[in-house]
Amino acid sequence: MRPRLLERLMSDLVILSSTLLGCFSFLYPFFFPNFEQTPSPAGIRVSEMPLTMTLILGLCVLAMLFESQQSTANARFVALMGVLVAMNSVLRYIETAIPGPGGFSPIFFLIILSGYLFGAKFGFLMGAMTLFVSAILTGGVGPWLPSQMFTAGWVGMSAAMLFPITSHLGWHGKAGETVVLAIFGAVWGLLYGAIMNLWSWPFLIGPSDQYWQPGISFSQTLTRYGVFYLVTSLAWDLGRSMGNVLLIVTLAPVTLRVLRRFRERFTFVYLAAEV
């Protein structure tokens, strides 16, 4: 029993560490105001930052994928994920060809439901793999891919936290479940954009009340980012947020019923009776 407990603990630690390090690499402007941005011999460090962020996020994604694939060490889950990722990739392909209003994207619907029903590791893989496969299909491989994979993975991973809540409240299969998922989708619609903005925000130059500058305090950084987000991204992200709510309210109850039925079949194990 003890080795299994240790393995579980180590697994959780790997996930927690890579998540925290990923958060840290996105949020560093808030905590390190003295970071040099002025052009000087130290200016070389500024130009290194996107590369360093890509490296750290890439390694975090690598560790998370490595850890999460242990949960799919089963032919059924590999096949299930392959099919769900294919469906999501087609949705993204359609979205690329026919863009929706604002930042609307249909991919988060299945990522949220998968994470909610099949667990955090499955949800992370679903989010990360959807972005990876759809990037290959649409020719969208780029330096932005690790951060997109990581953030979409977080969407799926965090959706798993809702399951115990709805279970505790006895809301499975009821309207309350849809409401919780819709609120979650709305929040992530905005949060996804806010996190992805952080990728480039410290390197942009613009009006001093919206952009980051070295030496400003935590509260100033927060205020400036808030203003920047309101001015440049809120309207765009609201499209994604509203789209998530619409899709979840309309399609989630029936889709959840189907996924639950197949989850029973995919996790079915035959144990031979002892003779």
């Binding site: 630690l13 996107p50 099919v83 330096p143 130059i205 009006p207 889709t255």
Partner: protein, 353 residues
Amino acid sequence: MPEGHTPAHFHAWVWLTWMTTILLCVSLTRNPLYLVVVWLCVAIVHAAGGMGELAGGNAPLPFWLSLMVVPFGAIFNAFTVHVGERVIFILPGQFPLLSGKITWEAVVYGATNGLALSVILLAFWVFNRNVSIPSFLHMLPRAFHSIAIVGSIAITFVPLLQREVHQIQEAQAIRGNNLSGLRNKLALLLPLLVSSLEHAFQLAEVMTARGFLQSSVSSNQTVWRGAFLGGFGLLLGGWLSRFWGLPGWAANLLFGGAMALFVIVVLATTRKVRYTVYRSTPFRLRDALAMSGCACLLIFLLFQSFVLSAPRLAYSPYPVLRLPPFEPWVACLLLGTLSPWLMAAFQKHDSVS
């Protein structure tokens, strides 16, 4: 020789090295003169076309689209950032964001950033055109075989999904069901979801019957998880040491250590995974030669930036615009990104003569 792989094509690893080199160049320099050299190299490789498994010629649209980013960046930056000494003109009035002095520094800074973005866009277009999906998946280390199989299933399942959608649409049309409107789309989505999951179930049975994953479950999970945790500690240490003003070599050492730990875990796990190669793509001398030009540049960039910590490639037009430094030998090294085009040109010349 595998289908679709002719002697004129380069191995996917060549393109990956080429892509990595370009990204590193763009990440390390904002010197517009060096960026112009890199942009020209990428544009030549793009214009040449016909060097990859998917190559069917050069498309002009991405070329022009990527080029448009440069003036857009310059104009946007000039009208939104009013910093600099060399004033072109002053925009009067109280227009939010726009009013104020328009400076040459802001124009050059915006154009340089646009140029860097243009290089990235064009280079990724070349990469996506030259590396086929199977080759891309084949480059994944065997330690990630589950992920690669998920990717393969997803990619091969896409055409099946399209066929399925058409069949369902036809069946619903025969029944007189209207599929317009979001709620009516359930009549399409649900049968599609159910039939896809049925396919997944059948596929899983076939995979299980053929012994999928029976031999590849890692036995040293505690060890590699420990190595990952150690790697995270080193990454955090390297990251913090950058902000706390420790010497650059200390941070690079910690980053290097973290990368080494991750690579060791991946390689050790890769060795334990048994696999069968159905279509091998040979790595030939010409691939090695094409890769070597990029590799030399890559080593130079890594060495001078992370070992010497030399600001040789650094440049900023702020606070006063001045001519960017230009060292011809650095520009010559940047021409290493032309190596796939050069090798292809030599090969073409040989085959003609």
